[in-house]
Symmetry: C2
């Protein structure tokens, strides 16, 4: 379990400060994460990686000459926000384009894609290569749906080395994609980690048992067995990975980099005992082992587990991937060979932009104060349900929904209060709350709720009085944004299942002339009904999983938290229609 | 807990094989451990480090250019045997002398000192610098009695860099000693590790509590508190370490290297949060922080704990220690800067020397078979009591007595059986058993029991019949060797308390004409009585510790296991005096 922290809400900021203080030789802090503190002799393509925190050395520990140029750092197990990914990329860019590379998780994809759109709109060429190495997370014919685990390292390393050699963005992208095609991983777990400030582990595995294929955030595995001997585990790893040799590679004589990764509390000596057998088995299969790595490259706090990654270099010695894998690198957590001396850049922190509050009407400022109160109530309601939301998410997802909503809603409430106190109107207050929610909440829920509040703010503005018609219209806009953004349809068991009937019902009621204090609670009841179906499915799936039935689809607690927020707002509506 | 292993008895051999397979770029296997797989451009002083396994990257992970030349690897938490330390030093020596450096633990000191004597007898100049950085293990005026923890790294690194620069053995020794004088560490623990194959952790700390000053093998701490916040822990670390500034250093303007070390399952993100405060507090005290390290440098399997080490470089920038601390190094687990390319040496394993069995009389061969049976019974008796012996040792020592006696007696029994089966006499059989016991048992008990069996073997020889007089004489020799070797006196609550009355009583009885089957059990009863006093004291101390009384001396379960062995032998004596 995680024991050392102060206020859990400050964990990301504090670990970033400590990491930068310890690692100034390689990195400097920028808004949203870190970039190199050294300058390349010539401008190169910038490799920007990132993801949730809790996986050190992934991702910030891999920034430095020969590897990444920047890392966008999200909160614990939660994607960095769009702003964070964008900001780090802007700082890392050297005029030759940006390659985003990160593990394939929905929240990360949403945020990095949005950041990529922003960069492109500004004329910065940006490409993305997702890492999809975990063979248990989807079958081979859905390779692109697989999630990324310790195989991250191979893709980042090859891309970083190619950029260092001066390769173009096209070439770096091709090599990164090629490396991902050649990388396969397989993980097991014996026990879960407990996040800072939580009393329960994210998941548990019964004593003496091992979860096979379980993800690094506790995503469901595919099987459970007794804890094997070290030799048996090596046999399981190697035999299964040899069944999935990438196209174009012959096993006999293939040159392969094995990476045996500890997730936190399976320690070095145990890993070496396992590696002994891995090495023997690979050689027995006719494989040439090249420059292996045994250690901690992608952790999950102190989760007890390990994974084996194979990077298939090809059948010819000294090929392109082998040259790039073995090229020098110098980062806080991954170093090899001799990197030439680099000039250090001034690491004084980028000055925070001064916020100006746009002028607003008295009515809108009054509404803003009311909005700030509402957001505070929402944060309290989420707080009370956060553990339950997390449990629901961990049945089928990565378990971060509760903590993400909690952090996001708290940050949103704080930002709204501070904007309203500074005299902002309703629109600016909502926009500020949306930025903060997205930034601090992270993950899928962070980006969606950020967009919802930003959209509401845009529609409400800082001048016009806030009335039922305006609110209904704003909610309709938010619904459209969410649908366009997440690509889910009604019936997919996501937040869309709740926001669509809610917005439709609210709009119809308001058009029929009902006041907001009648229309909203009615619409909220509709949303709650939709959410109940998702909750039922999560419960059913929870029971089914323990009986080994994997056939049921994936419910997302987004609908449940959406309904919770609608209901909370319903209970706080003023007697007259003066505010939103 | 440790989960991944095969036969726990094979753990050391298997982890060594796996480590070397993964790390051939830096190391090659030699009998007893590893040495560099690269050749220095010019011969240098050889830095040989070592200790028990379970602390990776200490010690084998620190072998490579710019750091150590070889590491003697002991069994889990047990000192390497004399043979192992000697053999690694012989392989590492380049004709310019050897510096032994390791943490100050009794078993390591016994074995490395004996190896040093052997090297000196062969004309190889050899010096020793003990690491004594743990401020809680003895008061400042007994600095030389302190044990070594993560501060190992500073001493090894400075010595390795000095050797790399071509410094003489005198100079390397001086610098290593100076570095130890300038190094202070302070550790805490939240929970113990469980060794491979064991079902109980080596120690436990109550949930929500923190042991202050507890050693890396679970040696008693000095206090217990609630788990503090990260900031409070940093405050505790820094304030206490600032109370013990080495002589000749002014705090204000002092240049200091902080090393924040995780012991296994306190993970990187937590360490960074703690480091944030450490860095702030040091700067607030006017200290100049130089090249800090945050990570895992000396672990204890998956023990939950961490320590802060401060290396006080001095008050002038760019001094001697600073130059050597920041010099390039390239090892499996510690790399910095650019190390010039090195030539690789042939890493084919050194051929094991062929053993020849000296001729023996029929009577002595008969006795040898009987001795092998006795050793098998002894191993069984130790097996049954190993956990109890470990518990007794953990009250005051490092808890390895049980597992060390278990591994040693098993290895001794196997070696005796194989020698006797090959036709060896009593003397050779005992000598072989002693070598194996010492090598596999490790620690203090390993070296002492190795010497006892070797001494018995020398006195008995391979020709003479084994009778009561010879046995009594041999036991007397063994007693003298043990007393000369360990420097303990009767009453110090060590094995000496049991072996002295046992040998004296046996000798008197045999001189009085009693047969061995009468004399031995009588003497064994005397040993048992002495051992009981040690056991009582351990129990009393165990109770006293939980009441906070630290004033009671240190009992050593060596007397208890000695008596156990004597009693076991007593039960197996033949009706007539034909065998020993």
């Amino acid at each position: 379990m995680t024991r050392l922290f102060n206020d859990p809400d400050d964990f990301l900021d504090e670990l970033t400060e400590g990491f930068v203080a310890a690692s100034g030789r390689w990195v400097r802090a920028v808004p949203g994460g870190v970039v190199r503190s050294t300058r390349s002799p010539e401008p190169t393509v910038a490799i920007v990686i990132g993801g949730g925190s809790g996986h050190y050395p992934a991702f910030a520990g891999l920034v430095g000459p020969g590897l990444a140029h920047g890392a966008a750092m999200g909160n614990l197990f939660a994607s960095p926000s769009t702003q964070r990914a964008y900001s780090v990329a802007k700082e890392a860019d050297q005029g030759r384009g940006v390659l985003f590379s990160y593990g394939n998780y929905a929240g990360d994809v949403l945020n990095f894609d949005a950041a990529q759109d922003q960069l492109k709109a500004e004329g910065i060429d940006c490409r993305t290569v997702l890492v999809t190495d975990d063979i248990w997370s989807a079958p081979p014919d859905e390779f692109e749906k697989r999630r990324g685990i310790a195989g991250d390292l191979t893709v980042f390393k090859v891309a970083g080395a190619a950029a260092e050699e001066g390769a173009s963005l096209d070439e770096v992208e091709r090599l990164a994609r090629h490396t991902n095609d050649r990388t396969r991983s397989f993980g097991v777990a014996f026990d879960g980690c407990t996040l800072p400030g939580k009393s329960e582990p994210l998941f548990t595995v019964p004593q003496g048992r091992m979860a096979v294929g379980l993800g690094i955030h506790g995503e469901p595995g595919i099987d459970e067995t007794d804890v094997p001997t070290a030799d048996e585990l090596a046999e399981l790893f190697v035999s299964r990975l040899l069944q999935e040799v990438p196209e174009g590679v012959e096993v006999s004589g293939a040159r392969v980099v094995p990476i045996l990764n500890g997730l936190g509390s399976v320690k070095y000596e145990e890993l070496f005992v396992v590696y002994r057998s891995v090495d023997r088995l690979l050689r027995a299969a006719g494989v040439e082992v090249v420059d292996p790595e045994v250690g901690e490259f992608c952790t999950s706090f102190d989760m007890a587990g390990c994974s084996l990654t194979l990077l298939w270099l090809g059948n010819e010695p000294g090929g392109e991937l082998e040259r790039l894998w073995t090229a020098p690198a110098d980062t806080p957590a991954f170093r090899r060979g001799s990197v030439s001396e680099r000039e250090h850049v001034d690491s004084s922190a980028t000055a925070a932009a001064q916020k100006t509050i746009p002028p607003a009407s008295d009515e809108s400022r009054h509404a803003a104060t009311y909005i700030a109160d509402l957001l505070a109530r929402m944060a309290e309601a989420i707080d009370a349900q956060a553990d339950e939301l997390g449990r629901m998410d961990s049945v089928a997802g990565d378990g971060d929904h509760g903590i993400g909503m909690q952090r996001g809603s708290r940050a949103g409430a704080r930002a709204a209060r501070s904007a309203a106190d500074a005299g902002a109107g309703a629109g600016t207050t909502l926009a500020e709350a949306g930025d903060a929610w997205s930034d601090q909440g992270g993950g899928t829920s962070g980006v969606i709720w950020g967009r919802i509040l930003q959209t509401l703010g845009k529609t409400l503005g800082d001048e016009a009085p806030v009335n039922a018609a305006v609110v209904a219209a704003a909610v309709g806009e938010a619904r459209d944004v969410v649908m366009g953004f997440g690509k889910a349809k009604v019936g997919d068991k996501t937040m869309v299942d709740a926001i669509v009937p809610f917005a439709d019902d609210l709009s119809a009621s308001v058009e029929a002339g009902r006041p907001l204090r009648v229309a909203w609670p009615q619409a909220a009841a509709v949303a709650e009904q939709a959410a109940q179906q998702t909750a039922d499915m999560a419960a059913k799936l929870g029971r089914a999983r323990s009986h080994g039935d994997k056939s049921i689809g994936t419910p997302d607690p987004g609908a449940v938290s959406f309904a919770l927020i609608c209901t909370t707002v319903a209970g706080e509506l003023p007697p007259a229609d003066g505010a939103g």
